[in-house]
């Protein structure tokens, strides 16, 4: 049982580290801001959840796990909120879309006119 918990914790920590690196690479390699925001926003929350879950399995029941759950809840609330505020600000600012990206609504309504 303890071995199983340790193995699961190792898998969670390792995949969290992997998603950290993947998110950083996406932040560097994606073509425009909206794709970068997509890569960073998703991998950010996922990596935080995976790594903190792995730490929870290591800590066992106790005050440390309560603190880890609080950190996880705060990250899960604040990180998408900050991201949403950032994307709204960028969209209101009129940041240009790249050659391969456009809004979903522009695909639905073709007769929407030029912006």
């Amino acid at each position: 049982m303890t071995d199983l918990t340790g193995l699961l914790s190792w898998v969670l920590l390792g995949s969290g580290a992997l998603f950290c690196v993947v998110g950083g690479l996406g932040l560097l390699r994606m073509p425009d801001f909206w794709a970068r925001a997509h890569a960073a926003g998703i991998s950010d929350t996922l990596a935080a959840g995976l790594i903190l879950s792995g730490l929870m399995l290591q800590a066992g029941f106790g005050l440390v796990t309560v603190k880890l759950v609080m950190v996880l809840v705060f990250i899960y609330i604040t990180s998408p909120t900050a991201g949403h505020a950032l994307y709204r600000a960028a969209h209101a600012h009129g940041l240009a879309f790249g050659a391969d990206t456009r809004l979903e609504t522009e695909q639905v309504g073709e007769d929407r006119g030029a912006d």
Partner: protein
């Protein structure tokens, strides 16, 4: 195994720093800053376990809150050029 997670988090922080320096628009820089802040929370948590003293989680909790407020403050500053703008004079 904590060192593996720490290595991944540190690599992501390095990549986020490079992206923050390189990013063409100010929003790219703020996005990289947001990633950097979240990774800092993870780094504090993992390093507490790595050194056998998980008491540092209080710092991680505090940093998660400060990071959110900081991102919103920077966004408002970029939008309005002022943090203490009087909203009663002009609407939005």
């Amino acid at each position: 195994m904590f060192s593996v997670a720490m290595l991944g988090v540190l690599t992501a922080m390095l990549l986020a720093l490079v992206a923050a320096v390189r990013g063409p628009s100010v929003f790219d820089r703020i996005l990289a800053l947001n990633v950097f802040g979240t990774k800092t929370v993870l780094l504090i948590a993992v390093s507490g376990f790595l050194s056998g003293r998980p008491d540092w989680l209080d710092l991680a909790l505090l940093y998660a809150l400060v990071n959110f407020v900081g991102i919103i403050a920077v966004l408002k500053f970029v939008r309005f050029g002022d943090l203490g703008r009087d909203d009663s004079q002009s609407a939005s």
